[in-house]
């Protein structure tokens, strides 16, 4: 019952984190990668990495001054520029070959501005569609438990928890300066699925307890019922998260460089999501439903 007793504290804590995340994002702005803004990324590797100043000089001579060049992997560099034409690309590649070092192109990605714009709108549409789908499904699945909280509220609370689970990781990632690429978006979308999964398990237990109480004609305050459900599902929530966190840590530490951002997004999402399913969603439900005794 501990959680329900101090529910205002936990909800307040979540609200604070969400607010802080929104402030971080609005101050620092989202760091969209070239997939969203349009632009080019060239990733090259050498048999032996040349000095970065040499690369800068060579680029400046070829007409690419002040390029963003970053070391990548053991022997490579990543160059980010605005969208390049085929001709400019070839110039860039030849400018990157410094001295007699052997150069190989690991990756070249060039995105026109319209493609980037489209990706942004599509991601947003997907997010909205998933949220709506979930509200409707939860409202339907909980249609028999209209009392004391209408089944729509379960759906809305699930979506609030979901937004919470997305906004806070985005805030943290913005703070540490992670660039948003497509896999980042995939990570956020997976959080959607996992967050709802988590929240529904607790809701389901509330639903079951409510109907058991009804059968046995036990009069119990709604917050008490919810508190019971949280306790009953606590081990499961923690354990499920733990197994996923283990897999994600393995993926982050040992996995491909390309999916490191993704595992980080998912890790944050898992931790925040587990927190919200225990400390946010169900307490919020009791707040919406009031303290009425059924």
């Amino acid at each position: 019952m501990f959680i329900i007793k101090y529910r205002k504290f936990f909800i307040g804590f979540s609200a604070l984190l969400v607010l802080a995340s929104i402030i971080v994002v609005s101050v620092r702005g989202l760091d969209y990668g070239i997939e969203f803004t349009g632009g080019s990324v060239l990733e090259v590797s050498y048999d032996e990495r040349p000095d970065i100043d040499l690369v800068h000089t060579s680029l400046a001579e070829a007409g690419f001054p002040d390029m963003l060049v970053q070391p990548f992997g053991d022997n490579g560099y990543v160059v980010k520029t605005q969208s390049l034409s085929e001709e400019q690309r070839q110039q860039l590649v030849s400018a990157m070959s410094v001295g007699d070092r052997e150069l190989s192109i690991e990756r070249f990605n060039s995105i026109g501005p319209s493609v980037g714009r489209e990706l942004r709108t599509k991601s947003l549409y997907a997010l909205i569609a998933v949220s709506l789908g979930i509200i409707f499904f939860v409202a339907y699945a909980f249609r028999h438990v209209a009392k004391p909280v209408s089944s729509w509220r379960y759906g809305i609370v699930a979506v609030i928890a979901l937004l919470h689970d997305i906004i806070i990781p985005v805030g943290i990632l913005t703070l540490i300066g992670t660039e948003i690429d497509t896999l980042y978006v995939v990570g956020l979308l997976s959080i959607l699925g996992l967050s709802v999964n988590d929240t529904i398990v607790v809701f389901d237990r509330i639903r079951e307890n409510l109907s058991t109480n009804q059968e046995k004609k036990i009069a119990e305050a709604f917050p008490t019922t919810v508190g019971m459900a949280i306790n009953q599902t606590m081990t499961r929530s923690i354990f499920t998260s733990l197994t996923l966190i283990v897999v994600l840590v393995a993926l982050y530490v040992a996995g491909p460089v390309a999916t490191q951002t993704l595992s980080l997004v998912l890790l944050l999402g898992m931790i925040v999501g587990t927190y919200s399913s225990i400390f946010l969603a169900s307490p919020l439900l009791t707040l919406l439903g009031g303290n009425k005794t059924k």
Binding site: E106, F108, N109, S123, V186, G187, S190, I200, A250, V257
Partner: protein, 478 residues
């Protein structure tokens, strides 16, 4: 009881069989995984088609024609499993944009890829310039070619030509002036065909059929060709391809009927490629390259290796946690997870699913959901045991009670997957497909398979001993 055990054994056999198939087909490469370009290496190109000159009703047809032409061009270069698609993209208020998307697995050289697609073979027929001009030009060429070489130019057995050497570019230029443009070009070509000369005695006396390219012109082209040959009997007509001379046969007589042959000492492969390119013709719609993505072969391979490694480490860690905490049921969950992995990998090959890094992430997340189903069931069993149920009843009731949670949670995940698939871009679609598939398969393995296993190992009647009860309990609870 024995029935349950037999079914349980069949599940194990199914898992082993599928696992073996996946392993075997991967090792012998009879049916390897379909890896996306981000993992296998390759080029992904997006072109914008300019359809402004085409009436709305004909856009679809023109785009299809465009796709066919590009597809033929790529096929002519022998790329394995290329993928050419057209897409209409909504740009919101800006209307729509027609796009052509080209995926070239294994082509990691972007220059080559772009050239392959952008190349329109330019076929030209040219006639001799007036003989006076030709002589003058020929004299200049001879002049350029004649170089004084002395013994001093030979050092270490290599001849180095002093000064600027021979100006081959200039010679090329002059050679082109030997011929004059005509109206007859590849535009009038009806089709090109690969043929072989009758085997005859060739250099060195060997018998060899030489590949030649037979051209048929359309009606207008036939007329042009006829008049060209009529005016040039006894002279040569040069056939130019992409600006360089391929052959210059002598015209013996007037040729009507629009048939011509190019024989240019081609190899069979060269001739095949050329025929493909000639037949593919010009593009019906102008296109512009707006987005490219090339992944080198090592980067993709590294990602696959690291991904597989991380996956195995993750699976082992999860298995250890499950067995330590949930004991016998935990072990069963691990076996079910093994069967789940085998079924999923088999499905990736069977459907087949093109695996990208996003798709593999979807798979890993679905493992978490599969484990979650088992954790829900085992926690429920524990509660039922605490409530004083017999072991067998605890197992049965545990499954029934957990089912509603698992069902609703998974349905909501499936809804997410469907919407992501519906609205998402290619990458998101790949994720959603594997994720959705994983949830459906995990419902089967984590519930049905685990259930048969547990029931087949649990005694139906009587009380169970302390050891048995210990095996079914978990964590630090008594």
């Amino acid at each position: 009881m024995w029935k349950t055990r037999i079914v349980a054994l069949l599940f194990v056999a199914l898992g082993v069989l599928l696992g073996w198939y996946v392993f075997h087909s991967e090792k012998t490469e009879s049916n390897p995984f379909h890896l996306g370009l981000d993992l296998s290496g390759g080029s992904y190109l997006v072109y914008k088609a300019d359809v402004s000159a085409i009436s709305e009703g004909e856009v679809r047809d023109s785009m299809d024609a465009l796709r066919d032409v590009i597809e033929r061009r790529i096929n002519a270069f022998g790329v394995a499993e290329p993928n050419v698609n057209t897409e209409t993209h909504s740009l919101g208020i800006d209307g729509t944009e027609e796009r052509l998307i080209v995926e070239l697995p294994g082509v990691t050289d972007l220059d080559e890829a772009v050239r392959m697609i952008g190349q329109t073979p330019l076929l030209e027929f040219k006639v001799e310039a007036p003989s006076a001009d030709r002589e003058a030009i020929q004299a200049q060429i001879d002049d350029l070619l004649s170089v004084q070489v002395s013994k001093a130019d030979i050092q270490d057995g290599t001849l180095t030509i002093g000064g600027d050497g021979i100006d081959f570019a200039k010679i090329q230029e002059l050679q082109n002036e030997l011929y004059l443009n005509t109206d007859l070009t590849g535009k009038y070509l009806d089709k090109a065909q690969l043929q072989f000369t009758q085997a005859g005695i060739k250099n060195g006396g060997g018998l060899q059929a030489e590949p030649i390219i037979a051209l048929s012109f359309d009606r207008e082209g036939s007329e042009l060709f006829e008049s060209l040959t009529r005016e040039n009997v006894g002279k040569t007509i040069a056939i130019y391809l992409d600006g360089s001379i391929i052959s210059a046969p002598v015209v013996n007589d007037v040729i009507s009927g629009g048939q011509a042959v190019i024989s240019g000492n081609f190899t069979i492969d060269e001739a095949k490629t050329l025929v493909g390119r000639l037949n593919s013709g010009a593009l019906p719609i102008p296109i512009e390259l707006i987005s490219t993505n090339t992944v080198g072969p090592t980067l993709g391979q590294d990602a696959v290796n690291a991904g597989v490694y991380a996956g195995i480490v993750g699976l082992i860690l999860v298995s250890v946690i499950l067995i330590l905490w949930y004991r016998l049921p935990g072990l069963i969950a691990v076996v079910a997870l093994g069967i789940y992995t085998a079924i999923m990998l088999w499905m990736f090959k069977f459907i087949p699913v093109t695996l990208t890094s996003a798709g593999i992430t979807g798979f890993i997340i679905s493992i978490g959901i599969a484990v979650d189903a088992n954790i829900l069931i085992f926690e429920r069993m524990k509660e039922e045991l605490k409530a004083g149920n017999t072991l067998y009843n605890a197992v049965k009731v545990g499954f029934t009670r957990a089912w509603a949670s698992i069902r609703d949670a998974n349905i909501s995940s499936i809804i997410s997957a469907i919407f992501l698939f519906w609205f998402g871009t290619a990458l998101i679609k790949g994720f959603a497909l594997v994720f959705g598939l994983g949830i459906i398969v995990s419902m089967f393995t984590a519930i049905t398979v685990t259930r048969f296993f547990l029931l087949s190992l649990t005694k139906r009647e009587g009380t169970s001993g302390a050891i048995t009860r210990f095996l079914y309990q978990n964590g630090f609870n008594k």
